[in-house]
């Protein structure tokens, strides 16, 4: 792993079109700003892990017999 030391407001470039800036630092937390092209996906690693786990679970559960769903109401997002 490449390790770089940066101060507040300093940046790191990844390739020519991705920039990561250190915005603030507190005791055990740093805040970074990321500039990247729209098609670059950016997300927190633990979210990725959770999504991956859920997709694997969905694939396993896909063999479940389906019950009659028509008597249930679909829940809309509020």
């Amino acid at each position: 792993m490449l390790v770089l030391t940066r101060k507040i407001d300093e940046e790191i470039k990844i390739g020519s079109d991705i920039t990561i800036k250190v915005l603030s630092i507190s005791e055990n937390q740093i805040k970074v700003g990321i500039k990247a092209p729209k098609d670059v996906q950016i997300y927190r690693n633990e979210v990725y892990d959770k999504v991956k786990e859920s997709t694997i679970e969905a694939s396993r559960a896909s063999v479940q017999k389906q019950t009659d769903l028509l008597k249930y109401k679909i829940q809309k997002v509020k």
């Binding site: 859920s54 969905a58 559960a61 249930y72 679909i74 829940q75 809309k76």
Partner: protein
């Protein structure tokens, strides 16, 4: 061409029916070719891998439950469904929608990293 699926038995298809996921799905990055199936008797759409026919995902059109869900031009948003024998425990993944364009035969999955959209959204109520 033909694959043997768990849900639908043998399914015949032609090259032009293949939906390409260049980056795969999260957790299934190696599987890039899928069939998108809407059976008459099923509540869900199905995304069935061609490269590993045992891998299949029930899918639900997210617009049905959320008209304000983030859109992608020319693509339709679907959520991967986690089935359960108890319908009240069936969930849809709204955090990582799958966008599909059936004309372009193309699809991709994206993570929406905000608290508004959960990984496990309960699809049904009584």
């Amino acid at each position: 061409m033909k694959i043997r699926t768990h849900q639908f038995g043998d399914v015949e298809f032609t090259e032009d029916k293949i939906i390409n996921f260049d980056n795969g799905l999260f957790g299934f990055e190696d599987l890039k070719k899928y069939l998108f199936i809407k059976p008459d008797d099923s509540f869900f759409y199905w995304l069935n891998s061609i490269e590993n026919a045992d891998i299949a995902f029930p899918m639900f059109g997210i617009r049905v439950i959320d008209e304000e869900f983030p859109q992608e031009d020319y693509f339709e948003a679907f959520g991967i469904v986690t089935l359960n024998s108890d319908p009240l425990k069936i969930t849809v993944n709204l955090k990582a929608p799958v966008y599909i364009n059936q004309n372009l035969k193309s699809g991709f999955q994206k993570i929406i990293d905000t608290d508004k959209y959960p990984v496990h959204y309960n699809l049904f109520t009584e």
